[in-house]
Subunit: 416 residues, 2 copies
C-alpha cells in the first residue's frame, strides 16, 4: 500500500528535486504533457529579451558573426549530441523532424541504391507517429523508382520483414502512444545483419532515456527538441548521422546553408564537408536559440539519474493506478518491463477523451491520442512523487463521481 | 544641386515619417540593410514576452487551441497575402524559402509532366540567389527523370530559352544583387504563351514593391519574411499558389501539418484541401508569431505610398552619388528606369568589400555581395531623406581620405 506520506518522503530524498526551480510552471497544476510540449525554462525569457533587443535590434546583421547565428545549428547540435552519444560534429539542429527525416531517408536510400539496387522496401511501423509514414510516402511517390513502404506491427514483426529486400528501416526509439522503448543496439544488429540501414526517430526518447547512438552503431537519427528537451513550441529539430556515412552522400534539400562555401555565391551546389551538408535554408534564429536554455539544464543533470527517477515515477504511476483505480477499466498499454519502457505511461479506456478533459479541468494536464489512449508524460526534472500521487487521486475522483460525463468534454479541438 | 536643407525639407513633408517610431533602431546609425535583415518592430519585445510567458509558460499545450498556434501559418499567410495580391486561403507561412521552393517546384514539375511530358528543362537565372539554383539541382538529382537546369543571363535571355522544352521557370522578382525588378505580368504572359509555368521568388520584392500575383496570373510564389517585412532573424517563409493549381497536386514534403485530418493519426497521407497541403512539420512558433508585428505595420501603411517614397529615396541615393562621388569609380548596376528598379541600390567597385567595412565603422550599415557589389537597401518605413544624405556624405569622406585602405577591413567574416 503506497501512501501520500511515502511520496512526500521520496520527494524529500530526491537528488534532482532542485531542478524544478529552473522551470516556470503554472501554479496548482500537475503537468504530465512534457512529452508533447516541454515546460518553459525560466532562463528563456531573459535570453529571448537579449536575442530580440540586442542581437536583432541593436547588432542587426552583425549578429550573423558577433552572436554566431551562422554557427548555431552545429553549436547547439553538439550540445544535444552529448545526450544521445554523439561526438562533436555529428549532429545539427535544423528545420523540423519531418523535414530532417526526408533528408536522412534520401541519404540512406541513395547509399543503399549504390550497394544493393534490388532492395526497394522501406519499413516503418503502423504505430509510428504518422508524419514518419507520410514523409516516406511523399519521398517514394516523388522519386518513382519502384520503392514501397511496408508497415510492421511493432518489433515482433521485424524479423519477418527483414527476410525481404529491405533497404531502410525507420523506427521510433520510444513509441509516441504506448511508450514502448526499443533496444537500439539489439535492433541495429538485427537490421545490419540483413544489410539494411536504420533511421531512429528520437522524438519521444531524447531527454527521456539515456542512449548512445555510436556505441549502438546506429546509422541515422532525427528528433524533436520541444518535448523532453524543453526547447520551446515547435523549436527546430535534431539530425544525427553516423560519421561512417557522413561524407558518402549529401541530401536533396540542398540549400545555401549546406553549401561548402555559402558566401561565394557559386552557381552550383557543392555540399559542405561534415554534418553541415544536412542544413538547408535560413533558420528561425529566435526559436532555435532558445533551445539552449532547455539543453543546458540537462547538461547540468545526468541522463542516468534522470532515467532512474523516470522509472521510479512511472512505476509509481502504474502502481497507484492499480491500487486506486483498479475497478475503472484502465488498460495499461505501456510495458511493465523497465528495459522496454520510455518515460510516459499510457492507458486505453473507451472514454479516454472525456476523462482527459475532466483531468485538465482539475489541473492535471495529460493528453489524448487516438484510439482511446490517455497519455501521461513523466519529466523527472520538474515532476515529483507527490505530483504523481495527486494526479492519480484526481483520476480516481473523476471516475468515482463520473465527472467525465459532461457534454462539453465531447467537443474536440486540435490536440498535438 | 541637391542640398542637405532640401533633404530636411523632404523629411518634414514625408507622409510616412511617423512609421519610424514603430521600430527600435540603434542610435546614430543609418541602416541600409533592411533588405537582408529587417529592423526590429518595437512591439516584437512585448509580444515575445507574451508568447513565452503566457502562451508557452502558462497555457502550455492548450495554446495549440487557445492561441491558435495550429492556425498561424494560414492566418499570417492571409495577412502577408494582402501585400502580394493574394486572396484569403492562397498563402501560408512555413519553413524556409529554400524548402518552399522545393515544394512548389515539385508541384509545378508534376503538373507539367502530366500535360507536357517532353518538357524537361527548368530555367533559373545565373544571377539568382544561389539557393534557388541549388534546390533545383537537388530536386533534379533526386528524381533522376532526365530534367536539366538551364541558367539564363537575365530577362533578355528568356526568349531564347523559351524556344526549347521548358517546363518551369524560376525567377527573382527583384534581383538580390542588382535590384533589377521584373515586370511580372509581362514575363508571365511570355512564359504562359510557351506553356511553361512560373515560380516567383519574392525575397527582395515582398514589402518592397507593390505586386498583384493574381492579376498578373502568376503560378507559384515563395519569399522571405525577415527582410523588408521585418519578421525577425530567419522567420519562416511565405508560399503562395494560384488557386487554379492548388488542388491539382500536393507536394512531396508531406508532413502531418499538411494532412487532411492531422489528428486522426491515419496511416496514409491524404493532402488537406486548399493551401494547407503545402505545410509539412511542426513550425517554430515563437519565430513565426513575431512575423505579425512587422506585417501589421505594413497593413497600416499603403504599399503604393511605400513605393513612391522608395523610388524618391533610391533616386536621391543615385543622384547624390553622382553629385558627390563621381570621381571614385562607382559603377551603378541598378536600373535607372523606375519600372525596373526594386528597393535597393547597388554599385560595383573593385574595393567594394573594404569600402563597406569602412562605412560600417562609420555607422552606415550596407552590405557586400560577390563580386565587388556594394548594396544599399532602402526601407521607406524607417529611413528618411537625411539618412540618405548622411550615408552618401560618409561614403564621400571614406573615398576622399582613403579610409577603406585599412588592413583589418580585408579580413572576411560571414555575410548574409
Amino acid at each position: 500500500m503506497i501512501t501520500h506520506e511515502q511520496c512526500l518522503y521520496w520527494d524529500k530524498e530526491d537528488e534532482l528535486k532542485h531542478f524544478k526551480d529552473e522551470f516556470a510552471l503554472p501554479k496548482d497544476i500537475v503537468y504530465l504533457d512534457g512529452n508533447s510540449l516541454g515546460a518553459r525554462p525560466k532562463n528563456s525569457l531573459n535570453y529571448a529579451q537579449h536575442i530580440i533587443t540586442q542581437e536583432w535590434g541593436e547588432d542587426l546583421i552583425n549578429s550573423w558573426n558577433k552572436a554566431d547565428w551562422w554557427g548555431l545549428p552545429v553549436r547547439l547540435g553538439d550540445k544535444v549530441g552529448q545526450l544521445i552519444g554523439a561526438k562533436q560534429g555529428e549532429t545539427v539542429i535544423s528545420d523540423s523532424t519531418t523535414l530532417n527525416l526526408f533528408k536522412v531517408l534520401s541519404a540512406a536510400v541513395k547509399i543503399q541504391a549504390n550497394k544493393y539496387p534490388e532492395r526497394k522496401i522501406i519499413v516503418a511501423e503502423k504505430d509510428a507517429f504518422p508524419t514518419d509514414i507520410y514523409i516516406i510516402e511523399g519521398f517514394i511517390d516523388l522519386i518513382n523508382q519502384g520503392y514501397q513502404v511496408e508497415l510492421i506491427d511493432g518489433v515482433s514483426d521485424l524479423d519477418r520483414v527483414l527476410e525481404s529486400e529491405v533497404a531502410v528501416v525507420v523506427l521510433s526509439h520510444v513509441n509516441y502512444r504506448t511508450g514502448y522503448f526499443y533496444d537500439m543496439a539489439e535492433i541495429n544488429t538485427k537490421i545490419h545483419a540483413k544489410n539494411a540501414l536504420i533511421i531512429w526517430d528520437l522524438c519521444h526518447s531524447v531527454g527521456a532515456v539515456p542512449m548512445d547512438l555510436n556505441a549502438a552503431n546506429s546509422d541515422f537519427a532525427i528528433g524533436c527538441t520541444y518535448k523532453y528537451l524543453n526547447g520551446g513550441p515547435g523549436s527546430p529539430a535534431l539530425l544525427w548521422v553516423n560519421p561512417k556515412h557522413r561524407d558518402e552522400f549529401w541530401q536533396p534539400l540542398s540549400g545555401w546553408w549546406g553549401h561548402r562555401k555559402p558566401f561565394d555565391m557559386a552557381q552550383h551546389y557543392e555540399p559542405a564537408k561534415g554534418i553541415r551538408r544536412y542544413l538547408c535554408g535560413t533558420q528561425p534564429i529566435i526559436s532555435m536559440s532558445l533551445i539552449e536554455c532547455g539543453v543546458d539544464i540537462f547538461l547540468k543533470a545526468s541522463m542516468q539519474k534522470i532515467r532512474e527517477k523516470s522509472l521510479k515515477l512511472t512505476d509509481l504511476f502504474i502502481d497507484l493506478v492499480n491500487q486506486e483505480c483498479s475497478e475503472f477499466g484502465f488498460e495499461l498499454i505501456t510495458p511493465t518491463d523497465h528495459h522496454y519502457r520510455g518515460s510516459h505511461v499510457s492507458y486505453q479506456h473507451p472514454h479516454g477523451y472525456e476523462i482527459i478533459q475532466a483531468l485538465i479541468a482539475r489541473g492535471v494536464i495529460g493528453d489524448y491520442r487516438e484510439p482511446e489512449v490517455l497519455r501521461f508524460g513523466i519529466t523527472p526534472l520538474y515532476l515529483g512523487y507527490e505530483d504523481i500521487w495527486n494526479a492519480v487521486q484526481h483520476l480516481k475522483a473523476i471516475m468515482q463521481h463520473n465527472e467525465w460525463k459532461n457534454e462539453s468534454y465531447l467537443v474536440r479541438g486540435a490536440v498535438t
